[in-house]
């Protein structure tokens, strides 16, 4: 059914249609609306049988999800930013134990400086933790990916993170097609755990494993993630046959035929990129787009194939590997047969800075003209950075950096862009 709703409400309804049995969460912006909506569904009796467990922290949220999943319950939680970091130890455990928890990450920057706005630093900090990581381009895909995530995770006994841009998607009202219970039931079978804590048939889960077997357990986690590369496209096809739309899959390509310049990105910025590419195509520029839906496992073959004709690649990424550069671009370079010099990293939108068509077009045109550096910060105030560096060269007690910059620029009251 078509509805005009907030992204968080759409995701909550999709999660409810997946018949979760345990939901536990600790509130943190911009994830809060999702679990609030689910909490209302549980307390109102619309979502049953399901237990909603209030916990005292994100660490507890993931720990409860681990316990519930080990007991054979379909388990769901959601978090963002510092919340994801706070639960990190348990996040690794969920993957290492092979428990198919589904978690929404409403992507938000990581402090310090404290910042509640969107970027991908939170999810990408956990890229090697063993969870499958899927990134939604819009709210329709966000809700669809949750349905796919439960099936994928439960089939492989792996946890799945569904990443959606905080605020930009979670708080946006847009049209979504909410599936029926019958459609979801046809796609998502009842959870049949490979391992379950059952008093009638006791097992231990979480044994200490020494050097004699640890490598093998790790290698099996890798093997399972590689299996996901086969399942994800197949299930995207099945999803289309039941729900009548394309959602999920490993990657999305847009106007890639004959594209000499390929822009690579994750998440909601793909929409703005596509509109920019349309404008440039009208002027005859051969630009195309590769959207990464599945970031972990990394779809190396699909990326390699999509980039096979590219003369240059621009990776727009909302994260920064401090001291190194791009995270996504590093992965892209590893899957690109051409020279790594042809892969340009553009760090954009950190801490919620708006990514506009105008700025994207400028950076794409610079790439085409051969003037784009290997690493660029989109719309950076270079003078501001230089001022701080100069001050630090000249004096010792320069004080805290963030506060000094805020003093330099003055108060920005409700800046539009």
């Amino acid at each position: 059914m078509l509805k005009q709703v907030e992204g968080s409400a759409a995701v909550a309804e999709a999660v409810a249609l997946c018949r979760p049995e345990v939901i536990c969460a600790y509130p943190i912006s911009p994830q809060t609306h999702i679990v609030e909506a689910l909490g209302r569904m549980v307390s109102g009796g619309q979502l049953a049988p399901c237990e909603f467990i209030n916990v005292e922290s994100e660490f507890a949220a993931m720990s409860v999800a681990i316990g519930a999943s080990a007991a054979g319950a379909r388990s769901y939680t959601a978090t963002a930013s510092q919340g994801l970091l706070f639960m990190a130890e348990a996040v690794y455990n969920a993957a290492g134990l092979g428990l198919p928890i589904v978690m929404t990450v409403a992507n938000r920057a990581i402090g310090a400086p404290i910042n509640i706005w969107n970027d991908h630093t939170d999810a990408l900090s956990q890229r090697d933790c063993g969870w499958i990581q899927l990134f939604a381009e819009d709210n329709q895909e966000a809700l669809d990916l949750h349905i796919q995530a439960f099936r994928l995770g439960e089939e492989l006994s792996l946890p799945v993170m569904v990443c959606m841009d905080g605020f930009i998607l979670t708080h946006a009202y847009e049209r979504v097609d909410l599936p029926t219970q019958a459609q979801v039931d046809a796609f998502l079978p009842t959870y049949e755990p490979r391992q379950v804590l059952d008093p009638a048939d006791p097992v231990s889960i979480g044994a200490m494993v020494g050097p004699e077997a640890f490598m093998e357990v790790r290698c099996l986690a890798h093997a399972k993630q590689r299996q996901a590369l086969e399942l994800i496209p197949a299930w995207a096809d099945e999803f289309r046959s039941i729900f009548g739309r394309d959602s999920g899959g490993l990657t999305h390509t847009y106007r890639l035929d004959d594209a000499e310049t390929v822009v690579v990105a994750l998440g909601s910025v793909l929409g703005t990129i596509k509109d920019t590419v349309d404008e440039m195509r009208e002027r005859g520029e051969k630009v195309g787009v590769l959207g990464i839906t599945c970031f972990r496992p990394w779809p190396s073959a699909a990326v390699r194939a999509a980039l096979s004709q590219a003369k240059r690649i621009v990776v727009i990424e909302k994260s920064l590997a401090v001291g190194m550069g791009g995270i996504v671009s590093n992965n892209v370079s590893a899957s690109f047969a051409g020279s790594p010099d042809l892969v340009h990293t553009v760090i954009a939108g950190l801490g919620g800075r708006a990514i506009t068509r105008r700025s994207l077009q400028k950076v794409f045109e610079e790439a085409i003209a051969g003037r784009l550096d290997g690493l660029t910060f989109l719309d950076l105030d270079h003078a501001m950075v230089e001022r701080v560096l100069t001050r630090e060269r000249e004096q010792r007690r320069t004080g805290p950096i963030a506060e000094a910059i805020l003093r330099d620029i003055g108060v920005v009251a409700a800046k539009i862009g």
């Binding site: 605020f167 009202y173 847009e174 049209r175 929409g271 703005t272 596509k274 506009t356 409700a414 539009i416």
Partner: protein
């Protein structure tokens, strides 16, 4: 694509206004995208929210930098925030005030604008009367429907009833009807003055 930017202060229902507008547009079969500019959500702090309306799916996620219409929920922002940034001369402006553009000190600014696309409505007064709280958002949307013709009053009212519990909804519907009538009267008066 038609782009609306709403300026106001925390607590005035700015974000809800864009959500209502998107629901109203959706009810008319259009695609719509409403989203706030997120800041520290304090009562009284300047807030801006956006709504795009189109006949095809909307992919663009940038803030609305060049709006086709502006709704200003709090005239005290006029000299504090660049509320008119990016607005073209053929754009719509709707201000929540009982004063005129000239009385607000905007006489020079609006020279060159299409006068029939500019209007004021005392939405806070109407909200206080009909809702009992200073929440001008629903009344302003009805005023916007009247001045722009981009959305129908019926769709705005349906969106209000979808969003709010019955009692709150009916107060807002009454405020919306009053605001719509006010703007229609204001436009007729302007047309008579022009003809006369």
């Amino acid at each position: 694509m038609f782009q609306v930017r709403i300026h106001g202060r925390g607590g005035q229902g700015v974000v809800t206004a864009t959500e209502l507008l998107s629901v109203a547009a959706f009810r008319e079969g259009r695609h719509a995208q409403a989203f706030p500019s997120f800041g520290s959500e304090r009562t009284g702090a300047p807030v801006v929210a956006f709504c795009r309306i189109d006949d095809r799916p909307i992919r663009l996620r940038e803030p609305i930098l060049a709006p086709d219409a502006l709704i200003i929920q709090d005239p005290t922002l006029l000299h504090q925030v660049d509320v008119f940034g990016g607005l073209a001369k053929d754009g719509y402006i709707l201000i929540n005030t009982s004063r005129s553009f000239e009385e607000l000190g905007l006489g020079d600014f609006i020279a060159g604008f299409r006068r029939e696309r500019l209007c004021t409505v005392p939405a806070t007064e109407l909200a206080l009367k009909h809702v009992g709280r200073a929440v001008p958002n629903a009344a302003l949307l009805a005023g916007f429907a009247a001045v722009s013709g981009r959305i129908s009053l019926e769709s705005v009212i349906a969106a209000i009833r979808e969003k709010f519990p019955k009692k709150v909804a009916e107060g807002n519907v009454a405020a919306a009807n009053a605001a719509h009538a006010f703007v229609v009267e204001e436009m007729q008066e302007a047309a008579r003055a022009k003809a006369g």
